[in-house]
Symmetry: D2
Subunit: 393 residues, 4 copies
């Protein structure tokens, strides 16, 4: 990396030093597909142990100081105690993720269910999540609805939109001044014919209707084949409606693999839109969150790798020679403009990130350091008995 | 069809009698793929001959009284004369389709081109189209932009949105009180990396910004695989932002086959959303247009078949037992609700449509009548010499 | 249906009378997505109760006389007793489906696992399935492997093919003279990066290598978007390598919805290839099986509806005027050839099927008859306590 | 790159020195989409000028010593003279690409056309291409058929397979001892409903039937969304049936962009399969060809960039620590195995390639060298008048 100009180097390092990536409590628990959940040893058994794992990720990477919770999976009696424990471990509680898809009542939907009693129950859960945010000090309420239908005619698309709008509005009203609602969209799964919030347009339209505290969150695995995700990023940034990301990778559907593992060039392009809009800094208010399932690989190590993948894509995006890119674009020089992007992408930024970590007093190689720390062996020995955390708890 | 209750029968027939489908002038000219345009005999050589063909379609179907024009392909010196000719033939001029994709200047875009001079030229064309609308009495300006980029980095996604918004706004300002702008979207082609209006969300957001006279038009072939088009129909109808359709069929990309030929059940579901929102009647302001390419099949006959396919899907949608459907939906009876839809879909509505045509003084079998009319043989004999119309003219 | 020529009518009715559709034991148990399995009342608790449900489907449809088993889900000590019970109920045991995806050992694959001990275990299960076939008298061993990898580099694609070939060969050797191996393929899920048998080409190549008793089975939900399934049907029929179908519907991925519910026109086209190759008759050896998940709808009723959907698609395929179709094809008359197909598709065949059922002493309306029979209420009352069957048991 | 062990370095450099990439004559001519062909200045007007451009690419890259021809686009009276000219320019003539898609007769297909006279004409062209191979000394006959149908029912899928098999067989018989037939497949376009050779399985099955001189060629843009191309590479290599590649990039359909520009990680994975099967060396007989359309970017520069992209992906593939990868795979260490691949991919190999070029007496920066050479300016000035080459000539 000796070829980097000193000013570039310091600019890039400064930006990387400020970067923040939020991990997800549920990524440390067991997960799988409809065919099988393969249990892993050492998996946390309660929210405290999940936070301990998340704090471990932060200890080795230095850029993952918050951890998102999923309610009711992470329900506890005393959120202040949980927050205090997190603080002790060196992290803070992040976004609250509502869950209205795992109760038998939600077979035909939650807030869009044809049955008003079930809708009321789902709404009560959303409101409860805001109560929890008050207790945890979380800024963001993340809403993903599995609501939809499996068969044409099963329910009225339009009526369900009305019900959705009503629940969103009631929840929005409950938000405090410093709280936000992040509305996720997803093409399909678990609903197979029609999903009530299938795409960014639907989420955007509802957020626009709701007001400034409602914003769109992009899960990188929730799109139709061929969707240009960085276009959506650029569009929402321009419109002031991008709230954040749920990062992960996919080859086919919502595979929830490690971010950057399926199409690292796409991740770079996404981060390039972020950087070019000056939206990387935490002050810009974009939440960069991981939402992944480590079905077959060791979970903590996979989260560390994922954090590193985001860092590497970001470093490459920061290396783009913006004036050269802009000049080529203005000149209509297709190949030079493309080359300006590719030059940054092809750069090996790992030495720069090792340097960043050394500067921060971290081991330059987080994976090796984690493996050498004995943490994984310790929790495998300690976390015996009890019920391993998973998507049901 | 003896089982239809008389009240149902008369309701359905009345709705079908009022239905209007707009044909497209360019569907009668030669078309093809990048690999080859296979010329057909008897193809029109100018806008007058295209109108004659469109009038023939109307003569045999009774529900296609307007024909859309494409500028500059249908440019004439005297639009009043063209309109008068159409009237003589029994049809009227419909939507004006702008074309900013076939000039060498538009290699890197039209209204989003990095070069301001080219943007100005493109905008001037849009304004010219409104001038033509004034002359033809057309209500709708249909805008499809081929604009986009082929390579990552080629141009700034955000800057192109700014340029797009600016051109749309200037064109919108030019519209008269009774004129509308219909903004089309398309996932890809001819741009391969990024399209400036790739999805309904982008079109919707711009239309919302512009005002009431701007609405979204759905081309049924312009979506990513797996997109639920009837969801978009329902959503836009609910939002008051659906301006119309460009009907056609696709198996893979924007194949532009005859509407209803690839997935007739999807067409039925789309029409069912229209019917259930009471948006079929011309007074609702939805433009039902065909936008197809008959690359290998005889063109006039293909358009007649397409019109009939839309009629049949509509008739089936009108047969849905709406109260039974709503009751099953409210009860959460998935299979009964689905069955209510499928019962209508599986009904053979062709006898009903034959009856409708007989009532209107038409031949019950438009294809046979057209074939027997000698029209095709006549134009094949007459249209010799000159340059056959195609996408270039 | 008065317009059908008597000879057509009797030909079609005769073919429909001989049609056989195999149900799947697991379709009657609980199922769901990775997000949630919504338990249903009255679900079977053991293979005997599943067979009772399958027999109920046959009782009301008359064309579903066999039921496929899934091992180990349907493991019993005494298969002769199970077969005898089935016979009592009016059905017979059908294909044996091996299951090498639900043991913790199979996290990185079964027959393609890098660990030879796990491969041996998986192979032993396949051999055990043939033992069971000997006991049940089943003709077909259906093999679906969830094997694959989630991350590039995770394992050697080529080495896994070698391991697969080896296990298939050993299993093939074990088959009796009247037994077949049906090798299924699937694009993805549960593996997300690479599946060891992802497409028909892979299955075909292995079957060719193995010999005449190995054939390809097509699951209609296992393809990439845009795949023309009837092409595969036609190709495999021509090559003598089509063993059968796992029927279901999908909008996006492997949704496992009721066959004919997502794209009834596609199902018709598939059946048209079958009919045109004279492969409908049981003597042709094609196994027509259902493989579906009724996650949110009542299961027995959904299976009855699915059987009826296959019947209706078949009836339409049988109505195609084959000589007219062939003549139009030979003449290169695109629209007439297409119309020959569409005319059959648009025909309402439900009256014909009602007539067929009445001829066979069945209720013309199987859904209404089932609903009126009290069977569902009876099993809901009786099947209380115990563990409901699902994908784990 | 100082960290590379000397033995690795010399191994990698040796392999890169032997690499051969074939360019395509038609890439230097004008191309576009069905919407518009944007003409570029300086485009060749005949096969000689195309060869001059191809030779220029070789002069600056050193690894592109052959150029493929397309018949009839590159038809000349005297192929010996053309070959001699190529030799003078420093290149040789490569594969002969047959073209049976641009004659009006081929509207409904070429070798699969329902009309026997048209089939005979198409076959005669294929045979003529072998005649030309005899004259040019080309080893490979590359066959891509645009044949297919646009509408269900249009023609018999099975009958078309019979016709295809017959034409392939007759052509195969005509091949000399040192000649091969490479059979390409493509999902769709220009046919929209059914393509006669849609996937690798179809091509493989025909090649197997034909014999050892028939092999499959993979065009990287011809697959359904979600297809794992490197699986096909690995499978065909294992089966001894991979003949070569048509390299290009796609985001959606067959976009024909510069190879490595849309998903560079995929290109790396493909080359990693090649390298791991020891199939990179020309002696392995795999033809690495470019098949691209430079619709909006300068063509020669784009081809140089494409060649470099293949080189870079190959260099990364060569850097994979094969023993470490194999060990991690055998241990079932998912993350280490993936990391072994990613480590190579993230390495910046551009310094190594600059070194390779310097060793070969080339400019380390081919793009800059080409731009500085004045070649493009010269041909722009010289190639005025006449008809620019394109897909029609």
């Amino acid at each position: 990396m000796t070829e980097l100009a000193p000013s570039t180097r310091s600019r890039v390092l400064a930006a990387l030093r400020d970067q923040r990536i939020e991990t997800a409590s549920w990524a440390f628990g067991n997960s799988g597909t409809r065919f099988k959940v393969f249990a892993q040893p050492g998996v946390p058994r309660d929210p405290y142990e999940k936070i301990a794992d998340a704090a471990t990720v932060h200890r080795f990477t230095g850029v993952a100081p918050t951890v998102a919770l999923h309610i009711p999976w992470d329900k506890v009696d005393d959120y202040a105690a949980l927050a205090a424990y997190a603080k002790e471990q060196g992290v803070a509680l992040g976004a609250i993720n509502a869950n209205v898809f795992q109760d038998d009542d939600y077979k035909l939907g939650s807030v869009t269910n044809p049955d008003p009693a079930i809708r009321a129950k789902a709404l009560a859960h959303l409101i409860e999540c805001v109560d929890i945010m008050d207790a945890t000090g979380s800024r963001d309420l993340k809403l993903w609805f599995s609501d939809g239908t499996n068969y044409p005619g099963q329910d009225s698309i339009r009526a369900r939109q009305d019900r959705l709008a009503s629940a969103l509005s009631a929840t929005y009203e409950r938000l405090g001044d410093d709280q936000r609602m992040l509305l996720e969209y997803k093409l399909f799964e678990p609903a197979f014919y029609m999903t009530d919030v299938p795409d960014w347009g639907t989420s955007y339209a509802h957020c626009l209707q709701l007001g400034d505290k409602a914003q769109v969150v992009i899960d990188t695995g929730h799109h139709a084949p061929g969707t240009n995700i960085e276009f959506i990023v650029a569009f929402l940034l321009r419109a002031g409606k991008l709230g954040g990301f749920d990062f992960n990778s996919r080859f086919y559907a919502d595979d929830d693999l490690m971010v950057g593992s399926a199409d690292p060039f796409q991740l770079f392009r996404i981060m390039q839109e972020i950087v070019s809009a000056d939206a990387l800094n935490p002050a810009a208010g974009i939440a960069f969150m991981l939402d992944q399932c480590h079905n077959i690989e060791p979970k903590i190590q996979a989260v560390i790798r994922s954090v590193m993948n985001v860092q590497e894509a970001t470093a490459k995006a920061l290396l783009v020679d913006a004036p050269a890119l802009a000049a080529a674009q203005e000149n209509g020089d297709v190949l030079e403009a493309n080359a300006a992007l590719m030059d940054a992408y092809h750069t090996d930024v790992r030495p720069l990130l090792r340097e960043l970590r050394a500067d921060q007093g971290l081991d330059p190689d987080p994976i090796a350091a984690f493996k050498g720390s004995g943490y994984y062996e310790t929790v495998q020995a300690a976390r015996v008995g009890g019920e391993a955390a998973g998507w049901g708890a």
